[in-house]
């Protein structure tokens, strides 16, 4: 039997992220920006709704803006897929080497997916806070900047969890094809590859 546990994959995945920080940073920024856009919209909506409750007014966010968010999310997925594919090409020889010393296809897959999850989580959390700040700044002039303290904290946390999970899912979806390609590489071909 060949053993390779999730914790091994996480350990290695973190090593990769630390030492190839630039590429990871680009992916995190891509998810982060998309998520901050989404969060700022949700939060603005939430602030307006809270404001309306107190003031009896009826201001809101235009529905078409959600379409823009959807487009931003799709663009970020495509961008991450591209970045991950380049990362697979860069690591051709490494993948071949790992297969030589006992890695199975699923281990390679696991390594890439672990990276995707970490990237998604980091992008999600960073994006969320950026989005909240953006929403406070943009709606504050109408509703007052203390509006954020009127929104229940559980609701804020709920959206943090929700959008982070969404970001992780998007990152996984974006990385699935590159990871699958990496895992299916025949070792001989991967080893003889010159970048």
């Amino acid at each position: 039997m060949v053993y390779f546990t999730i914790s091994d994959a996480v350990r290695l995945g973190i090593d990769y992220i630390k030492r190839r920080f630039q590429r990871t940073a680009i992916n995190v920024a891509s998810i982060g920006l998309a998520n901050s856009f989404l969060t700022s919209l949700i939060m603005t909506d939430l602030f307006y709704a809270t404001f309306n409750e107190y003031q009896g007014s009826s201001i809101g966010v235009d529905a078409y803006q959600y379409w823009l968010v959807a487009v931003a999310l799709i663009v970020s997925v495509v961008g991450i897929t591209n970045a991950m594919l380049i990362s697979v090409y860069e690591r051709y020889r490494e993948i071949g080497t790992m297969k030589c010393i006992g890695a199975l296809d699923q281990h390679i897959l696991m390594l890439f997916l672990v990276e995707a999850i970490i990237q998604g989580a980091a992008g999600g959390i960073i994006g969320y806070f950026l989005g909240v700040v953006a929403a406070v700044l943009s709606s504050g002039f109408t509703t007052g900047f203390n509006i954020i303290f009127m929104v229940p904290i559980t609701e804020l946390l709920g959206y943090l969890v929700g959008t982070t999970i969404l970001s992780i899912l998007l990152s996984i979806i974006a990385s699935m094809y590159p990871a699958w390609r990496a895992s299916k590489l025949p070792p001989v071909e991967a080893l003889s590859y010159e970048l």
Binding site: T97, C100, I101, G102, P187
Partner: protein
């Protein structure tokens, strides 16, 4: 000297299709390699050395014929068993070292023990011991980029030994090294072969390696041209 056989090649054929043409990289090779033997596979480039290396190592499948490692036909193995074989039975050494650049020397050497299921701490201890045995005890936390070519090849040798394999396969291990460093690597490999009874199969065209080995298998056009005792 007589050995019991650890690697048996029977009528080994490997053809590649390139467009309409079929390239006969290996064209019927029969060879027995004994336990503890040091065999050099010699021949001009394109003679099938690397293909032979890949087939013995279970990295590639033959078009025809069989590779037996310890009596087991490796073309019959599934992905798990093949990974087990690569992990435990065979240590690979490459011309271009193929170390993982983001990992330190210590982590590189410990990596095969991860796939073998050795507890993390134990694997690191083993790796440290191996690195000092190849003379790199003081550089265990350096990354490959911070080591010389000869030092990188030493790390690769230590990595190949990490799971106590029976067979070391080396593909032009001195190909990227200067004469002096190359000689040191050959001495190191030769020493392991003699001291630990490791079976060593090296594809090479380095005369110094050919001199050190027990037998030289000369390849030409995918066939064994002649075998001579070293």
């Amino acid at each position: 000297m007589s050995y019991d056989t650890v690697i048996e090649l029977r009528n080994l054929v490997r053809h590649y299709t390139m467009g309409d043409e079929t390239v006969k990289a290996l064209d019927g090779v029969d060879l027995d390699i004994g336990r503890g033997e040091y065999v050099s596979i010699v021949g001009p480039s394109g003679s099938g050395k690397t293909t032979l290396f890949n087939l013995i190592g279970g990295l590639d499948k033959p078009t025809q014929g069989n590779v037996f490692i310890d009596g087991v036909d490796i073309s019959q193995l599934d992905a798990y068993e093949l990974a087990w074989l690569r992990c435990r039975k065979i240590g690979y050494i490459f011309q271009s070292f193929n170390l993982i650049q983001v990992l330190t020397a210590l982590e590189n050497v410990a990596l095969p023990t991860v796939f073998a299921g050795t507890p993390h701490e134990e694997g690191l201890k083993k790796a440290e011991k191996l690195l000092s045995s190849v003379g790199l005890g003081k550089r265990i936390h350096h990354r490959p980029g911070e080591l010389s070519a000869g030092q990188q090849q030493r790390v690769a040798i230590a990595r190949a030994l990490a799971n106590d394999p029976a067979i070391i396969l080396a593909d032009e291990p001195t190909g990227n090294l200067d004469l002096q460093t190359g000689q040191e690597i050959i001495d190191l490999l030769h020493g392991l072969n003699k001291a630990q009874g490791l079976t060593l199969v090296a594809a090479t065209h380095d005369l110094k390696m050919i001199k050190a080995s027990d037998r030289n298998v000369w390849m030409r056009d995918g066939k064994v041209e002649r075998i001579e005792r070293g």
